[in-house]
Structure formats: C-alpha cells, structure tokens
Symmetry: C2
Subunit: 292 residues, 2 copies
Amino acid sequence: MSKLYGGIEGGGTKFVCAVGSGPQDIRAEIRIPTTTPEETLGRAIAFFRGQEKLAALGVACFGPLDPNLASPAFGQILATPKAGWTGADVAGALRSALNLPVAFDTDVNGAALAEARWGAGQGCDPVLYLTVGTGIGGGALVNGKLLHGLLHPEMGHIPLPRDPARDPFPGICPFHEDCFEGLAAGPALERRWGQKAENLPPEHPAWKLEAEYIALALSSYILTLAPQKIILGGGVGSAPHLLPLVRRSVQGWLNGYVQSPLVTQSIENYIVLPALGSRAGVLGALALAAHR
Amino acid sequence: MSKLYGGIEGGGTKFVCAVGSGPQDIRAEIRIPTTTPEETLGRAIAFFRGQEKLAALGVACFGPLDPNLASPAFGQILATPKAGWTGADVAGALRSALNLPVAFDTDVNGAALAEARWGAGQGCDPVLYLTVGTGIGGGALVNGKLLHGLLHPEMGHIPLPRDPARDPFPGICPFHEDCFEGLAAGPALERRWGQKAENLPPEHPAWKLEAEYIALALSSYILTLAPQKIILGGGVGSAPHLLPLVRRSVQGWLNGYVQSPLVTQSIENYIVLPALGSRAGVLGALALAAHR
C-alpha cells in the first residue's frame, strides 16, 4: 500500500489525527482535545491542510452515528449526551473543507478493520472486536465488509442473565439497567466494588464475575455472528489476568455445543488481545480510508 | 432467472426435493421421509436423475453442519442426535452421483436467502430469519452473502435473562438449560404449561411470556447484527397473535436506545412474518443453488 491516507480517531475526550499508509508508516500525528465540533474539526482540518496530498480520509468516531452511505444523515453524530455534538455533520464538514473522499464509521468498526487487516484478525472472517472500558462496544468485519444496516451494532447493550443472589448490583445503564454495559463496563465495576477497576487486585472476586459477564456476552456473539476470531480490547477488557478466566468461562457456558476445535481445544488462539494495542483506533481510521 | 436448479430442503423428518427457477416456477417436487442417509439421499438422487438438465443443486439442511467451502468437512453433518447422520457427507454424495455443483448450508440460512431474494427481505441487508418451532434457529444474509465463519450461527442458544420469581421453569436445553431455545421452543412451552403450543389459547399467559423471551432474543440480535429486516417464522414464531406482543416488547426493551424509526415508529415493517411461508425452506435450497 503506497497511497497516503488521513485518519481521525474521534473520541469523547480527544481526536487523534494521523497521516500514513499503515502501521509501519505513520508520517504525522496530532492529538486535539474534543471541545465543540467547530473547534475540534477546525483544528483537524488545519492539520490535514498542512500535509502531503491524501487519497482519502477515514474517520473512526464515537457514536451513535449514521454510517450508511445511502442515508441522508450519513456522516452525522446522532443524539448523544456529549454536549454540542448531536447532529454534527462530521464527514460533511471534513469532505467539503478538504475536498477528499471521507469514510465514516464507528471507532469499534475501525478497530475491527485494522485488526483484520494488520493485526490479530488477519485471514479470518468474521472478525469481532470488542472493547470493554468506560463503555462497551463491538465492531465486526463480515463477508469482507464492516457490519452495519440498521445503523450500526451496539453490542454493549445486549441483555444478559444476572443472578441477583450472586450479584445484587442492579446495573447502571440509563436505558437498560443490567444490560452487558450496565453490569460490566468500568463505571459499573467502580460503583459495585467501590473502587476503580484498575485498582482492583487480580485476586479480587470482581474479576471472576467480570469474566463471567464478558463470557456470556461473547457466547452470545459467537452463537449469533459465528466469528472466526474475537479480539478483546479496552482498559478493562485487555487486563491480562482477565483473559484466561474469560476463555474458560466461554468454554464452560457453550459446553461443547459449538463443535469447533477453536472453542473446545485452542481457545487461546480464538479469543485474543488486540495486536495493535492502543494504536487500533487511529489505524482503524486509516484502514477505513483505504478500505472505503 | 431462466436456469433450472435443484433444491433439497433437508429436515429431520422429511427431505423435500424440487426443480425450478424460483417461486413462480417449480416444475417438479417430491417428499421423501428422512430415514438413513443412504436411502434418503439415494431416493433424492433418483429423483434428480429423472429431471431436465440442472445448472446446480442447493441443499438447505438441518444441522449442525459444515458450510465452509474451504473446510475438509464441507458438506457434512456434524455430531447430531439424529441417528445415522453424524458425519454423513451429504454434499459429497450428491455431487459425485449427480455431477453437479452443490451449494450446502443450513435450513435457516437458506430461508434467509430466499426471503431476501424473493420475499420479505428484498432490498434489505442484513436480513435476519428466525424460526421458533420444535427448535429455534437463525440465519442471516450480511453484506450480500450468508453468514458463517466459525461453522454457522446457532442463534437459538444465546443466553437470556430469566426471572425465577416470574418464570420458575428451569429450561430444557440439554447443553444450556435456560438458553433461548431451552425456554421458548415448542417443547419448552409444552413442558412448562402441560399442553402443546398450538393448543394454548391466544389469551393464555404463555404467550406474553413467550413474546418477552423472543423480544429479548431479537433485541440481542438487533444490537449485535444491526439487521434491516427481521423475519419471524416457525410453528410457534409465526402465530399471528404473538407478533404484536413481540414488537411491543422489543420496543419496550430497547427503550429508545436504537435511534431508528424502523424500531421506534414503524416496527410493523421491521419485524414481519415470512412472505414465502412454508415454501421458504425449499425455495431457500433453490436460492442457495442460484446464489452459490
């Protein structure tokens, strides 16, 4: 790949903008605090104007958003608690200012694409990328393309079983209370145990419960999407002591029903950490530009 | 479409074999009881040998099975409680006897494809087809192709929340007890309420509970797969008094989180009955042949 692309990882606290052609070739990068759309996008535009000629721009952004090219709202952020961003036409503003084709998708779809192209998901399809951190979100590459349709997946909000005798914590999702995110994202851990996830020691019972909720969700995704690779990222999800517990719990829950040796025998090659680590976001944006 | 195709809907009690080019053009059809693979496939082969020249054969079959062309076990039934069928090389036997290209997939993936091509899913992607009957299974067309990867989806077995105070029935799935199928397939209804689903009157409380489990599962699929159309079939799932309850319960559970008017305003166009009715199976097999 020799063409140069621009990529924006649009997050709730910062926008990371980069120019390059892939993981081994990032030529410029800046971080911009996320303030108003005008200011944040204005600074991004100024950065890209100062770069070499780009073939396209990819934006891997926080949501909810409209990723469907055929939709009148394509490129916009939908109703969001993030002040000032509801209805912001992110892709439109960048396209008209920079006169470039703009690919626009969720941050997690971008990460799934980057991992499928350059990371842990190479040669696999479907590839599922799940992040468990401040929130929980999932993206997937299916049949060679990113997964959307009715907007985009919101995998963090699936219903999960909770045994109140074992876990009386009622969940904190403002929409669904004890959905996956309401039970297992970082803020839920902090509320349930009275301390931040990163301060909970590996032997704390929090981690076994957390692994079980993640495993229930992964089992649901496996049964629904049939992914050939699952990549588990995010500040909570990529805690190294968590992964073996998650794998064992997935095997326990599926209980031999999915007759694939990847689940029953070599699950350490099936549910894995991101190969691109914290670079998955901005590389996802570049991959979106190259893949569009 | 003018080419002639053969289709086999392979079920646990009967195999339906047909020759045609689409829903308006079925030229021959027979039903064969499912006995041993040798006998059943032998009779199917004899039927197709007596037909005009076919371009390809499609098989939409009960599972679990291996639908991945690149796999050494492609075309085979995997471990199944159906006596004599474990390891049966269905596609291989048909291909070598009939000297035809053979497409091979699950019955529900076939139905999803037929509905996407000729039925309720036209113009939509992803299309999700769910059958709730003796068992529960789902198939999907995603990015223009059927969904598989790690074998094929087994959507009937996802974990769901169950409130033991409301529903003390522990579920009957031999692998997962109170997974979706263990709680909501026909045999679970019969065991819980002491009578067959078809004998439960529309005002029986069984239906509200059933609608809630189906709605929880559909909500999970919506959040994971982002389908643009959901087709609900099967002997239990297509009961007409059930559908409005399911739709309302999906809206209730999602609670405005998925910001699509298809969910919030016109869900009667989103979650629908099969347009092809009981023909979806054999038409699915023809569609597999044409789509391969």
